[in-house]
Amino acid sequence: MRMFSWQDCWLGILYHPQRSTIFPYALSPFILEFAIGNSIFFLIGAKINRNPYFQKTLIKTPLMLRDEYSNTIRSTLSLLSRHPAFLGALIGILAACSQALLISAGGPEAYGFCVACHTRDMVNGITNIVAHTDLALAAISKNSLLPVLSVAGVLIGGYIASTFHREHKIRKGTKKEYFIYFIAGVLVLNLAMIFGGCPYRAALRTGYGDLTAVLFIVAMAAGVILGAYLMLKKAEKEAV
């Protein structure tokens, strides 16, 4: 069996005092300049198209994201973070990643992110811990130390984003509206749990190969079209 040696690690041979010649030492300022300069450009978001060194590695932004500020990495990231398709891609990949990490704890497959199921797990799991009840849960939340907390994360993340960008604003309604929204929340959660997931888990299940979730999405689109059509008719009637 071959032992580990300094030749196996080329960063090691660059900075190893006995083994290296003058040549790696001569290269090291350039390597450091590349690493530090790259990270400074990434953090500060300087205009990289001025620098001929980075012109070849300029990020090619899609046409829909391109504007006069799209030549820095930071502004590209800012534009990307405001596009829904980026978040959609992120949820899909991270849900698969979290299943690969955590599926040993149990639970259904394609359960990476779901607003209805994870609300159910969070509320029922904490109720079970606090009040010693035995409400139904997914296995992943039943086995683990605390239930899944992604909805709490969504609430905190949305609060951080809205305060950081000064979009947090109290908008009040009437008591009748509160009552309607409360009943609608109860209804939507029960309907979603009868199917076994909100629209997001339906998308994850479709990606996982479940054909009943395709039916859910088609039916949901039909319901949305009916509701939007009724809203359109009502708006037309009010305008006339």
């Binding site: 907390l149 993340g157 949305g158 749990m193 990606g207 319901g223």
Partner: protein, 174 residues
Amino acid sequence: MATGILPKEAAVFFVPLVTLLLGLLIGYLAQRSGYCSIGGFRDYFLFRHTRLLSGYLTLIVAAFVGYLIFWFLTPAAMEHFFWAFTSGPATPIPGAPGGLNTVAYLIFSVIPGFLVGFIAVLLGGCPIRQTVMASEGNYKAAWFFIGMCAGSILFAALVSGWVVALMKALGFGV
């Protein structure tokens, strides 16, 4: 029994932490982008805007790609990928109340889907949009979220039993 990257003893500790971080990231970006699945279909139907709809369609494609990648990397964690081939084309992934036959689950996907779409478009957003709007300071959306919390206890205590009993009385039991 599927086994992931982490062993069970470690995964039990990491479940709340990993899902909390995932939720933080999703909540931040959902607030920035105004992400909404119902709103995507609504905007496309009313105004032919494809911005929000592209988010939902990308989610479906990215979920498939992500599960495919991790099916290659960690096949033990993706035991039943691709579900339609491994478990029969019309059987759903568990999550709905159990003990019923296939036709019941097809009904469970069509009727709730239609009603969820209909109710959510009248309220102006899908569950994640309502949650994010609640965190932005919208009291109506906050009451929607409180309704979801109350409905989860109601579902576990009463509604799931009622639904199973109803479907069995209609002849959809196993």
